[in-house]
Amino acid sequence: MTRARSSAALLLLFPAAAVFSVLYLSPLVMTLRESLKVHESGSIGGTPGTWTLSNYSDLLHSAYGNVLFDTFFFGVVATLISLTVSYPLAYYINGVRRIWIRKSVLTLLVAMLFSGGVVRVYAIALAVGPAGFLAPLFSAAGISPNAILFLEISLIIGLLNFTIPIVTITLLSAIKNIDMHLEDAAQTLGAPRWVAFFDTTFRLSIEGLISASILSFAICVSAFVVPMILGRGIIVFATNLIFSRFAEVTNHPSGAAIAIVLLLISVVIIYGFLRLFAKREQRAAA
């Protein structure tokens, strides 16, 4: 019986395992191999049978360092801002008593998750563009549309448009499971409202904050259309560099090396963040 059952499990898992190993693992392994091949100018891919680390050492050049720095810097900034503005929003949705408000804000957030990335980037580009409603704000602040600061701000606005909905929904599902009576109790015992909030609800939602920041950071680091359109080729993310190695410069080994470095750094950061949290939890339990 047990053997029959475990073979049934294997049979059911087989299609998924096949899809993942053929279309996910082997392509990634192929990218790793490609990144170690010699590239001769004029050809697209690497020369078969060769072996080199030069595709990686080329990345030590400061231009590439800047691209990686920008990728992670904007990821961190957008994540911090979206946590700050999404927490009040999630808290509000959780507490609002009028069902229709709750329902329409939720619908808006889910609609934003579902609606196309291209559509939303276009909307932001239109909003910061000369005909857009944000243009007067920029000119009032004295920021010219050609300034680097203009590009940086519109890039962050673009990233926030993607991170806020997912961060809010993640935080909302964390806050939903917290008993709001704790906050009421703290207030009854004399704590000011904000102290009551930070001592009960906020502390209990730290796990949600951690998963929300991981999600937000992962979205920013893998953003491609946002920097492509709103960075206008001046602010470049690692993803854009990989694409240009495929579409413009056609140097696959170099593109593969950038892909491997980007993947490794993001996995290390996400894993490190999770580990940090696990330690915290252990200490709290002890």
């Binding site: 059952r5 049934a8 499990a9 059911l12 898992l13 299609p15 998924a16 899809v19 993942f20 279309l23 996910y24 392509p27 990634l28 192929m30 990218t31 891919g45 503005v85 009040p88 509000y92 507490g95 008593r97 804000v105 939720l106 619908t107 808006l108 609609a111 934003m112 579902f114 609606s115 990335g117 291209v118 559509v119 980037v121 276009y122 909307a123 932001i124 580009a125 239109l126 005909a131 857009g132 409603f133 926030l160 448009n161 909905p165 939903k176 499971n177 917290i178 008993d179 009576h181 000011p192 409202r193 904000w194 893998s222 491609f224 492509m228 993803t239 694409f243 495929f246 993001s266 996400i270």
Partner: protein, 281 residues
């Protein structure tokens, strides 16, 4: 009233004001760009003028539906979305069933492996799939993208199917089997119909995912096959034409329809996970 409690009230009132302003600004920040695109898509002017438009017309919708590139892209997007969703749902449900009903060594690692594509940036998957497809000689853009989208949707369909299958008591299957049904019969006539809502919503998720996918597809399109979002993107890079606004209007309408379907099927609250101490219900 004592000084102290008056000060406490003032701080609370200030905090409340900041809180509501922040919430209102955030909602406005999210809604305004999309609303602006919707209004601009009905612009009657021939050029990209300042907001709001001085006259209205359907000219950009006409040029959208009259464009051969966009319509071919729309057709490809529809075929790719349906085909990849069918593959992802079928494969995902089988795997989810195995993960929910059976215990086997290494189960946690298998689960983690199945979810791991979620942290790999789409561009890296697209680039790697390009190398892979070229090496094994799959050159047709349509097939390349169908299987790529099935892969990208699979973690979602597995996760959603797992949640909905976990809610079905295994005693029902056992009862059917004690009445003489085989395990397969029990799965198709008891478990699957009960998991219908979850299965359908994972399908909607996969559809929505495939329809706006760019990061992977952009590496895999060929000279004859392009998708709607990629056609829109390349148009956006060349000229800033309001036909894209009209296309956005159509896509938003479609998304709203999908959400209404999900809401009717399972309820939006379920999508984000039910709460234990939920005050609003």
């Amino acid at each position: 009233m004592s000084m102290k409690s008056r000060r406490k009230r003032a701080i609370d009132a200030l905090g409340g004001t900041i809180f509501f302003t922040l919430v209102a600004l955030t909602i406005a920040f999210l809604v305004t760009p999309i609303l602006m695109v919707l209004v601009m898509s009905f612009d009657g002017r021939e050029f990209l003028g300042p907001f709001p438009p001085s006259s209205f017309s359907l000219q950009y919708y006409e040029s959208l539906f009259g464009s051969r590139v966009y319509m071919a892209g729309l057709k490809n997007t529809a075929i790719i979305a349906v085909a990849s969703t069918v593959i992802a749902c079928a494969v995902g449900i089988l795997a989810a069933f195995a993960l929910v009903r059976y215990k086997f060594p290494g189960k946690a690692s298998v689960e983690a492996f199945f979810m791991s594509p979620l942290i790999v940036p789409g561009v890296i998957l697209g680039f790697s799939l390009l190398l892979f497809y070229s090496a094994i000689g799959v050159l047709d853009g349509m097939w390349r993208i169908i299987f790529a989208h099935a892969l990208v949707s699979l973690p979602y369909t597995i996760r959603v199917a797992q949640t909905s299958l976990a809610g079905i008591p295994s005693t029902l299957t056992e009862a059917a089997m004690s009445l003489g049904a085989t395990e397969r019969q029990a799965f198709f006539s008891i478990t699957l119909p009960l998991a219908r809502a979850g299965v359908l919503s994972s399908g909607v998720l996969a559809l929505a995912h495939s329809i706006d996918e760019v990061n992977v597809s952009i590496f895999l399109v060929d000279a004859y096959t392009t998708t709607l979002p990629i056609a829109l993107l390349s148009n956006m890079r060349q000229q800033f034409d309001l036909t894209i606004a009209a296309a956005s209007g159509v896509i938003i309408l479609f998304v709203v329809l999908l959400i209404v379907i999900v809401d009717r099927l399972v309820g939006l609250d379920k999508v984000i996970g039910g709460g234990v101490h939920d005050r609003a219900r």
